[in-house]
């Protein structure tokens, strides 16, 4: 994978993480599951996903974009 493609993938990934932190597709939806609104379950899962993606980023390209030389 070229560096440029990798960068693009990270930008897209982070953008998706930000944009869908709010489940826009559930707008106006009031269904609940196990005592909580469905959209709240989405939030809980999404924060977990964000944390996982952040972990992968720190393990791979964390230093690449900061001009740190020993990478």
């Amino acid at each position: 994978m070229t560096v440029r493609l990798r960068t693009l993938l990270w930008v897209v990934t982070f953008t998706v993480l930000v944009v869908f932190s709010v489940p826009w597709f559930l707008w106006g939806d009031s269904r609940t599951a196990a005592g909580l609104p469905l959209w709240l379950w989405w939030h809980i899962g999404w924060m977990g996903l964000a944390s996982t993606v952040f972990y992968l980023f720190t393990r791979t390209d964390w230093d690449r974009y900061m001009g740190v030389s020993d990478v």
């Binding site: 709010v22 009031s30 196990a34 609104p37 924060m47 944390s51 964390w62 900061m66």
Partner: protein, 507 residues
Amino acid sequence: MSELPLQLGELPLQLGIVVGYLLLALVIGLVAYRVSTNVAEDYYLANRSIGTLVLLFTTFATLLSAFTFFGGPNLAYAQGPEWILVMGVMDGVLFAILWYLIGYKQWLIGQQEGYVTLSEMLGDRFGSTRLRGLVAGISLFWLFPYVMLQQMGAGEAITGLTRGAVPYWAGAALITAFMILYVVIAGMRGVAWTDTIQGLFMLSVIWIAVAWVLSAVGGATEATAALQSTNPEFLSLGSSFYTPAYIISTAVVIAFGVTMFPQINQRFFVAGSDRVLKRSFVLWPVLVLLLFVPAFLLGTWAAGLGITVPEGSNVLPVLLAEYTPVWFAALVIAGALAAMMSSSDSMLLSGSSYFIRDLYRPFIDPTLGETREAWLARIGVAVFATATFVASLSRPGTLIEVGNTAFGGFAQLTLPVMVALYWRGTTRNGMLAGIAGSQLLYLTHVFIPPVTVDLAGRTIPLFARSYGGWDVALAGMALGALLTVGVSLLTTPADEEDDSRLIVGAD
């Protein structure tokens, strides 16, 4: 129910627990200070040795504010729990990304150049004492309403807990007294330590509170069913209050604003190693989840449980007073107040280091000695906290409004700083124009009352805080970025500017 007078003997117990806990926090701070002087995790003098837990929690402690414990649940009680999503985008994801883009970059630069404050970094890069003073002055200005927010929250919390037996001003005065006492006695060190302990304590008690309330009403399904019958609109995502424009504006403005808070921004320089920054970055969304979901759900459920909140107090203390034993409710409020006090002290201390390093030394007395500096910092903190206390008595808005105003002011600094961090072509004039221009726009909208003018048959609002539901702070941020880039392109750097200073790996 909540109008019932206090039982005999409840008031001394409540006040005893609150004051006792605050005193205990003070003792912990003092002991931490004594024990740790050799280890010296002294961020004020920046030994760059803060570990993951302390960095994570001292940053996290900024979230442990009146905003979280009182303002947020109040909003959830009145408008529904969508504020949880706002916190998720804002703090869980956006702030984490900015933590990397601004925080890690500043850490790398700090390692190389030895900076301790943001203003110092910018002043040095652009060879400008004026820029340094401007950034420090703006930061202190917006710190004012944020400290006020804590005092307002404390006043309202104690009134709520004691059902009006203790007046608002007395609660606000109590926390002010402790803020000052804490700084004067425990001094400059040890605050990071108590921040950590408070953070862990609050995280635990808020979950215990949820368990307690839920077991009293029969579980989450029951509590939500009750809400379904009283406020069914709370369960559906979005409302006329939580519009997409509101959610996006609030999340963006606050996330960007938080990065420029003196005590947060200073933390970027003091992490012990980059591992510390990485771990905090990863843990951030989880921590946000663990804190805000329970706090705001409690506020939301209170609406369905028929809790009535007296005018001028907060829902959380009232709910706890109703469903949990007196001592537990008092303990949660005491913990919240202590956490608010501790994070206010971090703010005040970082604020005082801005004041001394970036305003007093460069402009008034460059020969300031260490002993006098320590005293000056303490007096400064006492004066500042007293002034915010006096201002908090007038209660200029809700907790959310006052908090938002402060975040909006800080957010105006973020984009010019990011431009400077990543673009070598930035010039001093560009920075001055971007920072002054955006502040001017935002300040006029905060302080000039809105007016409407008729223009060609259409009514156009001027100086409103939001336009079509979008916060004016966003316009200020965009203007700041445009001015910084535009003026930088049009001007040439002065001789004192050094564009290699913010480049990682440059000599």
